[in-house]
Symmetry: C2
Subunit: 142 residues, 2 copies
């Protein structure tokens, strides 16, 4: 059944959750090329762009709870893609050489994902939708 035909097709909760699940499935496929689920990939890209970034900032940028950030970093450390250093109460997260080598491949994944959905949805339309969703999310975010 189509979402637009569902009883709840007019409901923001239902629709945003269903959309996010479908988009995530697509993203998971794209990111298989670097053997990372998308949330890990996005965190790692943020770390690659700001080596030494703190978990609190990652939490603010990625809109994930601090505890979630901790958990994601732990896994990236296990995979030897990130390391933490500790100085008093603050923690810095750095990419490993292995992560730096992966960076070009990750950019490809991002591009492939982008092309995949814009080819399905159209560049115009998807870009407008993404912007609208962002605005709405910001309004809800308080």
């Amino acid at each position: 059944m189509k979402i637009t035909d569902s009883k709840y097709g007019q409901c923001l909760y239902f629709t945003s959750a269903a959309l996010a699940r479908k988009v995530e499935k697509l993203a998971i496929e794209s990111w298989k090329a670097v053997d990372l689920p998308p949330s890990y990939a996005y965190l790692l890209m943020a770390v690659l762009e700001e080596p030494g970034i703190q978990p609190s900032l990652l939490s603010a940028e990625l809109h994930l709870q601090p505890s979630t950030i901790t958990r994601l970093i732990e896994k990236l450390e296990e995979k030897k893609l990130a390391v933490r250093t500790y100085e008093g109460k603050i923690t810095n997260v750095y990419p490993t050489p292995k992560a730096k080598e992966m960076q070009p491949k990750m950019k490809e994944c991002l591009n492939r994902f982008y092309k995949q959905y814009t080819s399905l949805l159209g560049e115009e339309e998807s870009s407008r939708l993404v912007q609208d969703m962002g605005k709405i999310a910001d309004k809800l975010g308080k």
Copy 2:
């Protein structure tokens, strides 16, 4: 930080996931009045509207995997809000009297949630966005 300002503010994965998390948080609040997380509430509403509905149909309507539907029904059974009957390979799901009593309250929750987000976002704008998201999700589906 605002989503629209984030490095990934243009990315469909990031934005749809972040939006869904924020919307879900709002929905959770609304549904506390009946002590149900939103996914359970939506399933139960579907069962109330079509008593005897099969898990496969619930899966199609709610865009959740069959295994997820099974798990949600199990919890609703524990809470004495639903019962399953088994006939060969098919399963039928019925609401209990307790669930029927709750129905008006659930409708209130749905309304309150709707009012809450439309007051933040505007009726026009949110209704248009929800429709667009539904269309996009349908295009991505499969």
